[in-house]
Amino acid sequence: MRELVPDLQSMALVVIFTLGDSFIMALGSRAGNDIWLAFLLAIVLAVPVIALYARMRSLMHGESLQEGLATIYGKWPSRAIALAYSFYAWRLGSYVLIDLTSFIESISLPTTPRAAVATAYTLLALWAAKEGVEVLARWSVVMIRGVYFILFVAFAMLVTEVDLAEFLPVLYDGFQPILLGTLQLLDVPFLETVVLFWVFDAFVKPDSPYKVFLPGFAIASVFMCLIASASLAVLGAEQYATNYFPVFVATSRIDVAAFLTRLESVVSISFGIGGFLKVAVCLLAASKALAIGLGFTDYRFLVTPVALSMIPAAQWLITDMMEAERIATKVVGSSEVFFQFVLPLILWITAEIRVAKGKKNSAST
């Protein structure tokens, strides 16, 4: 059961996933007014890691994810890896669900129970995950136009509010805040891209993974950099860091001829779209990885229980708004570093060695 997705459609999926629910939050707030530097640094640092993810997928070309993992790492190690990442994707999905529901609760539906909103989004994600990555990629292509449109319009109108002086003085506090901000950005959302490693069954060509992951990531991250910088220039560094949803607050300042006001609700629509896709992709990745971990070729039968477990998990992982704000309070989580960087690095090195050996063997025989 291999679903081939055209590269450009996969790329749209990567873009919306990377934008996801995160762009509306105080991304990289530790960097203060040097946020754009932190962004640039984080992008530069993230590209090699994402290229590494792509390289691993590229090594598996010609086989489905399950077969590829098994040939490179052997049967049992590949299952263990899959189970570990299934957990990671499941937890990430729950976190995104928290962000999504707490945002909606605090902004527009204060009286609706949070679990109801979470259930609505999860049921939709359940359906999407059952339809599979092919459908989800097509969905992304349709939706990405809406997201682009909304964000472009909103930020074109924000231009009058931007005060470039907010970025000055550059490097006032030295390099440390920038480094902290960079680390924040790498953790959330840049390297969460690792989840996508588990979503695609197969790629069209051996170099497709690069063509999908790298441009997709680049587009999304530059977009996020512009959004975050513009919001910071509107609000100032202090407000940017203390607000839960600075982008939301920034767009609420838009006022064109007293008619086009309150655009923040429209921006929150694109947040809903991104957040939903991220939940769906995490759910898909978690179910797929779980199926691989348990040795099944079909993942669809596992989607429902995994999705249903994400709703209470989201309630469990969160105790209050402060914890949901996983970016503002924390620099980097240990398990994130492990799943996003350490484990892929180990896997990649192993893969390169084993593939090289395999080639030698086949060449000698």
Partner: protein
């Protein structure tokens, strides 16, 4: 045509005869007293061939189905003027009759009672000759046809004024006259155990993909149903998977539309007895394309097409958006407007949801009531609708005035995309439900769900949203916009056409 029902038992009863004998008397007995018993519309015309060796002959045909002038001129008269060979019988005699006696275009012979009685029921003449165990069939269609007129539901300002009729042959010729090429192919099939409806699959051989044609033929051959009364039967039986009523097969009454579609690599199915041709695969964008887009100036065509997309958005979304704005997010509406809406709804006792759903329902009832009524009564309905349900309902504080505006807007824009009117109503209802629970976010969830459904749909293996999700310029050129013909060099890729070039460059002449 009522006697068609009579042929319930396909074999003659009694002895279980299925082949003709050599005795004319016996054969006639079976036709008269068994197969077509109690059927007054069957004519039995007796005559004798020229002596010497004159033989008794009989011509059987169904009254009014067959052209009796033609039969007496070209079947009966040659028999009377000719001597049949002495002693000939069986196949030999039948061949002689077909080759040298009867002067008709489509002549055939058969030994089977079933074939012959089917032929009579279809309107053919059947000649039986004494001493011959073959019956000869002659095609002489004589029933009345509707003339070719412009279809009422698909009238155009600019474009050909021809529409399909109920006759399959005429319909095929209408398309063939547009595509006069030997590459235009027709496959004939027969569907319906009782109706034996003739179905024609038409396509252009050098363009349509072979896999697609085979798939269509396979799906139609799989149909086992007793009757096909309209092409809608076939449409429902061969279309892809369950879907929420969005069409995955197109239907049209216009030959120019059929020609345009099969020239892009699609396949069309024409069904005898219905003026509606089916085209497949049918994609979402086709609901927004009209033939006039291509006949008029491309800029005007583009404008109208964008208008249709906007209308679709309005007709599906406006009640849901109105509802979520007034009940969840009044702060999003500019202050003066929110005040006037609140004033208008001050005396309305119902919550917004009841108001929206109620008015929507009333409008749909009005429309359904008006559609099939004769013109004079239809006008009465619209007056009732306009006055009683508009002004009076507002004055009686049953609904707020803004609601009337929303319903009106929804209705008018719904008619712009009339080919997907019903699915649009269902989508609207779904979005209203979602918006009533979660406000604007519910609306967004609803839209995402609809897009998800559309993304998962396929029509004959082609993704339903194909050209909408294409990034290439050749894929987009006929989606939101209608580019000038000199830009649409290639046929759409997603149909898998064999030959993608549709326009030779330098076709565009420029003034020097």
């Amino acid at each position: 045509m009522f006697f068609w029902k009579k042929i319930k038992d396909r074999k003659p009863k009694g002895k279980g005869l299925d082949r003709l004998g050599t005795s004319l008397q016996t054969n006639l007995y079976w036709f008269k007293n068994d197969i077509f018993m109690d059927d007054a519309s069957i004519i039995y015309r007796r005559f004798r061939s020229q002596p010497p060796h004159s033989r008794d002959c009989i011509l059987i045909y169904a009254d009014n189905m067959t052209n009796s002038d033609f039969l007496s001129q070209y079947v009966v008269r040659p028999f009377m003027n000719r001597t049949l060979p002495k002693g000939a019988s069986g196949q030999e005699l039948a061949d002689y009759i077909m080759e040298s006696v009867i002067q008709g275009d489509q002549v055939d012979c058969s030994q089977s009672f079933v074939h012959l009685s089917d032929a009579i029921a279809r309107g053919l003449g059947v000649v039986l000759v004494e001493g011959c165990d073959y019956g000869v069939t002659v095609e002489a269609p004589g029933w009345d046809r509707r003339t070719i007129t412009e279809p009422q539901a698909e009238s155009v300002v600019r474009g050909p004024r021809q529409g399909f009729t109920e006759n399959l042959g005429v319909n095929i010729n209408l398309v063939r006259r547009i595509i006069s090429s030997p590459n235009f192919k027709i496959k004939h099939l027969q569907v319906g155990l009782q109706t034996k409806t003739k179905v024609a699959i038409v396509y252009v051989e050098t363009i349509a993909s072979t896999a697609l044609v085979d798939e269509v033929v396979k799906r139609i051959e799989n149909i086992q149903i007793d009757a096909i009364l309209e092409s809608g039967y076939i449409q429902e039986l061969i279309q892809d998977g369950p879907n929420f009523s969005l069409p995955t097969i197109g239907s049209t009454e216009r030959p120019d539309i059929v020609a345009g579609k099969i020239l892009e690599g699609r396949v069309a199915v024409l069904v005898d007895g219905t003026p509606f041709a089916l085209t497949m695969p049918y994609l979402f964008v086709e609901a927004f394309q009209a033939n006039e887009d291509y006949y008029n100036n491309w800029l005007a065509g583009t404008f109208r097409r964008v208008l249709r997309y906007i209308s679709f958005l309005i007709t599906t979304s406006s009640p849901a958006l109105y509802l979520s704005l007034i009940s969840y997010h009044p702060q999003l509406i500019p202050t003066p407007l929110v005040l006037s809406i609140a004033a208008a709804r001050k005396n309305v006792p119902f919550p917004g949801f009841v108001e929206v759903v109620g008015m929507g329902l009333v409008f749909e009832i009005l429309r359904e009531g008006g559609v099939r009524l004769p013109q004079p009564i239809g006008q009465a309905i619209s007056i009732v609708g306009a006055i009683v349900l508009g002004d009076a309902a507002v004055n009686a504080s049953l609904v707020g005035a803004p609601m009337i505006v929303v319903v009106g807007l929804t209705a008018i824009s719904g008619f712009v995309v009339s080919s997907i009117y019903d699915p649009a109503v269902l989508m609207r209802l779904f979005l209203v439900l979602m918006a009533s629970v979660f406000g604007l976010h519910g609306y967004v969830i609803g839209v995402m769900a609809i897009v998800l459904q559309l993304s998962s749909m396929q029509s004959f293996g082609v993704p339903y949203l194909s050209s909408l999700i294409s990034f290439s310029s050749q894929g987009m050129k006929d989606t939101f916009v209608r580019l000038p013909w000199w830009r649409m060099v290639l046929r759409p890729r997603y149909l898998g056409a064999k030959n993608r070039e549709r326009l030779r460059s330098k076709s565009r002449s420029k003034s020097p």
